[in-house]
Amino acid sequence: MSSPASLLQKPGSAEVDLTASPKKRGRELRFKGVLIVATVISMAVLAWLLIDILTDGASRVNGTLFTQYTSRFPEQTGVRAGLTGTLSLMTLTALIAFPLGVAAALYLEEFAAENWFSRLVEANINNLASVPSVVYGLLGFGIFVGLLGRERSLLIGAMTLSLLILPVIIVASRESLRAVPQEMRNGGLALGATPLQVAFTITLPAAIAGVMTGTILALSRAIGETAPILVAGAVFSRRADNVPWEFTDKYSALPIQIFDFVKRPQPEFQIEVAAAGIIVLMAVLLTMNSIAIYLRNKYSKGY
């Protein structure tokens, strides 16, 4: 009989497992299973994408690919113009975006008073991050067609990309500036340094690893950006190298060449050469990201 005594005889409540009912446990397991499957799907697609690109393009990654310009014949086509274009674009973009981004971050984090101007800049950075990259391209397009009479130039492309990654650099730099402890600034001020001297000789050097990492990650995002420079005047086929100091030249870039190859009707271009170009692009990306991670690990200091 179910007297209070028999209930008392039961072991402690810890063993009363509510999931013990097979129906409930089944539901729990099924739910967890669905979550795991859903998580695996997107990773599986990524794996499929990487394998697909390697099998399509690996055989085409050879000397010709690096030494030749675009050609009508797939077997004589290379990404030399795109590679030099991308490297030049990135050099110029870094030269423009790094000082601007760091200066803006220093201003917002170290000097800005709580006034309408700093609030405007803050709100604006948030909004710029959501503007589609192709719209930045339209800004460049409007300038090179509207003001320069369709004179396509490397500099317009680099400026477009700089504006695009500026919010990313500012946000990353502010975060690492914020991580510098206040005591270090106070120490500098107590020694008689001006706030500007403190910012440039104490705070910024202490935060530089994070700033560099953020900048390199932003640049590696810019490398893959196709829409903004496509709209801002990059050309598909160029039969000359780009160098950063000749910034009024026409320019191509790796992702632009890939887009060109994918759009061609012959499968040798559309599949093989395009995939080979993608492998080169991804290799450049991977290199940049590895440098960023290396810098982060080597110079990251815990305060």
């Binding site: 999931t19 539901r27 729990e28 967890k32 979550l35 859903a38 998580t39 997107s42 990773m43 990524l46 994408l49 697909d52 690109i53 200066a103 803006a104 220093l106 917002l108 800005a112 101007f117 604006n124 948030n126 909004n127 710029l128 959501s130 503007v131 589609p132 990259s133 192709v134 930045y136 391209g137 339209l138 800004l139 397009f141 509207g146 369709r150 504006l163 500026l166 919010p167 001006t194 706030p195 500007l196 590696s220 995002r221 893959g224 950006e225 196709t226 829409a227 496509l230 709209v231 992702p255 890939i258 887009f259 994918v262 759009k263 559309q270 395009a274 995939a275 692009l281 990306l285 990201n289």
Partner: protein
């Protein structure tokens, strides 16, 4: 080194005595902050000034109500139509497909990472999702065109699936947006205080019940913000649709000699999105002042308005979610 007395007189901490050089540097820093504001001003100015020039030639009523997008036809011709609706339809179709993939996969990943995954699994999954988020979109476009479309064709039949179609572009775009939705919603779910979870467990709820009936509702505004930002990315995404989505906007105006593409809900037939039109039109040599040239900016202005309002909406939700705890 100057003597102590002059040091006191020129106290560098006193702002009114800061040297000229410092003033200049300070102004330069402020100017750098202003660059981002000028970027927005420049974008808004260039988009809307050209768009309004267009509306001087073409009525804005036509722009909003025409049922076909034929900006390359001469404005004098009878078949000239400039209804942004045709491009918005393409964008909406791709966005709906992408979100149908990204919302369930992204939210499931977020729940798994926030409440189920052991630490070592999380350490593997999160970087992989970051890699996925970092794949250049031109690569995803290539993948949509050369891998996803053939797969759809082999499943649904070659004759039913166009070589360019919003379905394969939308699916790949959805996968691309999974990391955005997942990481932001995971942040929102992790921010739900453990006391809420403990309370529910104390009442005898199972883990599934805690996650779906306590954590999920508590994090809802953050989750909604994540989804809205995902929609914003889908609307503005360019290369995937430019490569794999097609360049034939739907066309409901029957009067024309043009190719008419009246199928408004078939995701297997090619469309054209707003972003794909921009990419197509800038490659032509439309002269400045022509309707085609101005239409590029009008489409850009529309795109800007859409993503801008989505971002404002998302920020509203994030703020509300932050206030909760």
């Amino acid at each position: 080194m100057s003597s102590p007395t002059t040091d006191l007189q020129q106290n560098p901490l006193h702002s009114s005595r800061s040297r000229v050089g410092e003033r200049i540097v300070y102004t330069l820093l402020q100017a750098a902050g202003a660059v981002s504001v000028l970027t927005t001003v420049g974008i808004v100015f260039i988009l809307f000034s050209e768009a309004f020039t267009l509306f001087a030639d073409v009525s804005i009523v036509n722009f909003l109500t025409d049922t076909a997008w034929r900006p390359f036809v001469s404005t004098d011709s009878d078949s000239f139509q400039i209804g942004i609706f045709a491009l918005v339809q393409g964008t909406l179709m791709v966005t709906v497909i992408a979100m149908a993939i990204a919302i369930p996969l992204g939210l499931a990943s977020a729940v798994y990472l926030a409440d189920y995954a052991p630490q070592r699994v999380r350490k593997v999954v999160k970087p992989i999702l970051e890699v996925l988020a970092g794949v250049p979109t031109v690569v995803l476009g290539y993948f949509a065109l050369t891998a996803m479309t053939p797969l759809l064709q082999s499943i649904l039949g070659q004759e039913n699936v166009d070589f360019f179609n919003p379905m394969s572009a939308g699916i790949v775009m959805g996968i691309m947006i999974v990391p955005t939705v997942a990481s932001l919603s995971e942040d929102a779910m992790s921010a739900v205080p453990d006391s809420l979870r403990a309370g529910a467990y104390g009442l005898g709820a199972t883990k599934r019940q805690v996650v779906t009936q306590v954590v999920f509702p508590a994090a809802l505004s953050g989750i909604v913000a994540a989804i809205i930002l995902g929609v914003g990315r889908a609307v503005g995404e360019t290369m995937i649709v430019a490569i794999a989505g097609g360049n034939l906007p739907i066309d409901l105006a029957g009067t024309a000699d043009q190719v008419v593409n009246p199928d408004i809900i078939n995701p297997l037939q090619q469309v054209q999105t707003m972003t794909a039109y921009i990419v197509q039109a800038v490659q032509g040599e439309a002269p400045r002042g022509s309707v085609t040239y101005e239409s590029i900016f009008a489409v850009g202005a529309m795109l800007f308005l859409m993503t801008f309002s989505l971002n404002i909406a998302a920020q509203r939700f994030v703020r509300r979610f932050r206030e909760a705890y």
